[in-house]
């Protein structure tokens, strides 16, 4: 990776970091989507998506943590001793997660109760740690922020889609407003329960892969 390292001071006219910014964004949010392609961090994706609002807050939390930890890991990347880099990463990630959790507890109590332990469990979310380890350790801060946004967004959008359909089909509501009238639509409780999450995520991953097509070099 060392030869690919780009200093952001020398941004080319092509765009952020000589076009690498846009590439990173596309890679994280689409081509290498952490949820739909890499299938990481699905525990929380299954658990909190029974309401659209929960999904959005959870997505926001992941963007915040991913950006924060990527930035800090990248800033410290030359000072961090290689042997303890993972412990350092976890400490940084945990700090951001607890910050967000404290914020929810103080100002968004109802949401904090609904998300329960899942906010705290972002610490163990493979996406965050994976980006810190695979990207932020080798790349300059600005590019790492872009990567954090991209991956956080990739996760948040998928969560929002699943949350939207689960709430709509499971309760006939969106943001707790009745959308599908009770007269002709019977809410499908299955979508609110755990199996609904598996179905929704499975179908979504299937669609994502079908649209994106096979990996280069992958046999059909």
């Amino acid at each position: 990776m060392a030869d690919k390292q780009l200093a952001c001071m020398t941004c080319q006219p092509k765009g952020l970091c000589g076009g690498r910014g846009l590439l990173t964004l596309k890679e994280g949010a689409w081509a290498n989507n952490p949820l739909a392609i890499q299938v990481l961090g699905i525990c929380s994706a299954l658990a909190v998506t029974n309401r659209l609002e929960n999904s959005l807050v959870m997505g926001g939390a992941l963007i915040f943590v991913c950006v924060g930890s990527n930035l800090l890991v990248s800033l410290l990347r030359k000072r961090t001793p290689h042997r303890i880099r993972m412990i350092a990463e976890v400490a940084i990630i945990a700090t951001f997660v607890i910050l967000f959790d404290q914020f929810l507890r103080a100002f968004y109590w109802d949401m904090s109760k609904q998300l329960g332990p899942y906010v705290g469990l972002i610490i163990t979310n493979c996406i965050v740690m994976g980006r810190a380890e695979a990207f932020a350790l080798q790349n300059p801060p600005v590019l790492s922020i872009v990567d954090g946004v991209a991956n956080g967004l990739g996760y948040a959008v998928i969560l929002a889609i699943i949350g939207f359909f689960r709430e709509l089909l499971g309760t006939g509501e969106i943001f707790e407003y009745k959308v599908l009238s009770g007269q002709w639509y019977t809410p499908n409780q299955l979508m609110i329960l755990a199996p609904g999450a598996f179905f929704a995520l499975g179908i979504l991953i299937g669609i994502f892969n079908a649209v994106k097509g096979p990996e280069p070099g992958e046999k059909k």
Binding site: P81, R83, I92, A94, T95, Q102, A106, F107, W109
Partner: protein
């Protein structure tokens, strides 16, 4: 490879900075979190006392409504939350007593609300429980809790106690138990009876 001393210093500085930051944030948000916890408790008491309040009330509003309407009284050893409705409202005076005891998996805590006669149950709520979801956890469901409304805390002969059982027949102090949750029901019955005993004693 950097030396051990450097690694130790790095760890120390990183750890300290993170800890300081989190301590500061925890301190700053503490009053808000405390208000939320108190609002949660007040919310439960308001509900069980059937004090009317707007459904989208904020934590601060709930604390205010609670302070305006509910009085904490000491009756012997018993702590009582009493709601005296304003003269022009059609709701009646109620009072609530806390109860707690061991459940099947963990502590169960709640409030029992009685009418002015200190005999008729007007509501019950559980604000802390870890019973099996779907079985013992059903104690928080509305069908189970609504059964208590209108029941008496004494039987026909005037003996204090409530019965949670699926046996035949009905009594003014009997509610249906939850199938598959006999242990939880027995434990809830025991802790309720303990509270009822002290209410009757102090009355």
């Amino acid at each position: 490879m950097k030396g051990n001393v450097y690694t130790l210093c790095y760890t120390g500085v990183l750890g300290t900075v993170c800890a300081l930051l989190l301590t500061a944030v925890a301190k700053i948000t503490e009053p808000y979190k405390e208000a939320n916890a108190q609002a949660e408790r007040n919310h439960n008491i308001l509900n069980v006392l059937q004090v009317p309040y707007p459904s989208k009330a904020s934590s601060q509003q709930l604390v205010k409504i609670f302070e305006d309407n509910v009085r904490l009284e000491q009756l012997g050893k018993l702590k009582i939350y009493r709601y005296i409705p304003p003269k022009d409202s059609d709701s009646s005076e109620t009072l609530a007593v806390g109860f707690e005891g061991p459940g099947l998996w963990g502590p169960v805590k709640g409030f029992l609300a009685l009418g002015k006669d200190m005999k008729t149950i007007v509501g019950i709520t559980f604000y802390e429980q870890e019973e099996t979801p779907g079985l013992g956890g059903e104690i928080v469901s509305s069908w189970f809790r609504e059964q208590f409304v209108g029941k008496s805390i004494v039987d026909e002969a005037g003996n204090p106690g409530i019965i949670i059982s699926n046996s035949e027949g009905s009594a003014p102090n009997k509610v249906d138990a939850i199938s598959g949750a006999t242990m939880t029901c027995n434990k809830v019955q025991a802790m309720l009876n303990e509270a009822i005993k002290s209410i009757v004693e102090e009355k």
